[in-house]
Symmetry: C2
Subunit: 222 residues, 2 copies
Amino acid sequence: MIKAFIFDVFGTCVDWRTSVAREVAAVLPQVDALAFADAWRAEYDPAMARVREGNRGYIALDDLHLENLKTVAARFGVVAPDNLNAAWERLDPWSDVTSGLSRLKQKAIIAPCSNGSIALMTRLARYAGLPSDCILGAEIARDYKPKPAVYLAACAALRLDPSEVMMVAAHNGDLHAARATGLKTGFIPRPTEYGPAQTTDLSADADWDVIAHDFNDLADKV
Amino acid sequence: MIKAFIFDVFGTCVDWRTSVAREVAAVLPQVDALAFADAWRAEYDPAMARVREGNRGYIALDDLHLENLKTVAARFGVVAPDNLNAAWERLDPWSDVTSGLSRLKQKAIIAPCSNGSIALMTRLARYAGLPSDCILGAEIARDYKPKPAVYLAACAALRLDPSEVMMVAAHNGDLHAARATGLKTGFIPRPTEYGPAQTTDLSADADWDVIAHDFNDLADKV
């Protein structure tokens, strides 16, 4: 019996690529906005890796995003305004997310378990209309997924055993880490998260507890 | 310009006294349920004081409530089932709360800043229909109000300056502490929180930034 659904956000709930590109295009018309969005996102995991590996203390994703923005802007030969960093608070949801999460919320507790900070998830949820009961994720654990501490901190914050909690994500790697810490797992593919030429996470690569085509299908199946 | 409203919950949003008494009456029909609820609540502040004063590490309010339940049950000469502790997750809201908070949510970020844990606030919000954008409070700070750290941790989690955040409470002491850390303050009286003979917090005892008669009146005034 699942008592809480926790879910990834970037990619799983929201289309960060076209949304960030839209924001980039509005303030940096001279650059290839999709290429800029891809380059910015490509710095995401290496930046978190430095925290995960203990090479720097926990620092919120908002701050990592701003550091990465400066790095990428310099590479593109432009100076980006700091407030472009708020692009990550204005990401459009995939069309099934608001209805599907609303249905899951009728069944159990729902909460994002993202690498985004509480501030970032709060503002993004207001922009995108993402329902939730509370915000879990990296800031609660002061570490980044896929470190086990993040999934375990989410369960601990809800005072639930990991076996009572399902992690939902569009990324097999996220689910492998969640399963390794004892959580249930739900997979939803987002085959255009990285654009039309995406080659990764096109389908489930393990026997996840639920494999659905979107959040509404997941709500039907649980 | 207020960018977030954070609010107290026990007493300010929900009528803990009659709700806890109802839960007590259901499982301990032999005791005076209101007297039991009052006695249980009377152990609340002393239990948190031991954490605030550094005499024990942070422990979630759920656990303090359970310790206090055993203490009070022994005093009443009964053995209380552990699951009576979940009474604190089933507290009825005052009649203005759901509509008033919904209106505030249209204006700015809203979040509980309670001494309740994330788990307790999550379940209580689902029971009572309390809207919010995220859950802040004691667990984020790992300390208890009215320690300054709790208000400051709430502002930090939202990446806002304290001057951009209004603390709303039915307790003057909560607001004195919030003001001392730089937050704006909003007072709502709850003159029957402690029953018909209540003598404290019947009115504002300072020039709070907003003094309203309920959450809807507060939404009108900000």
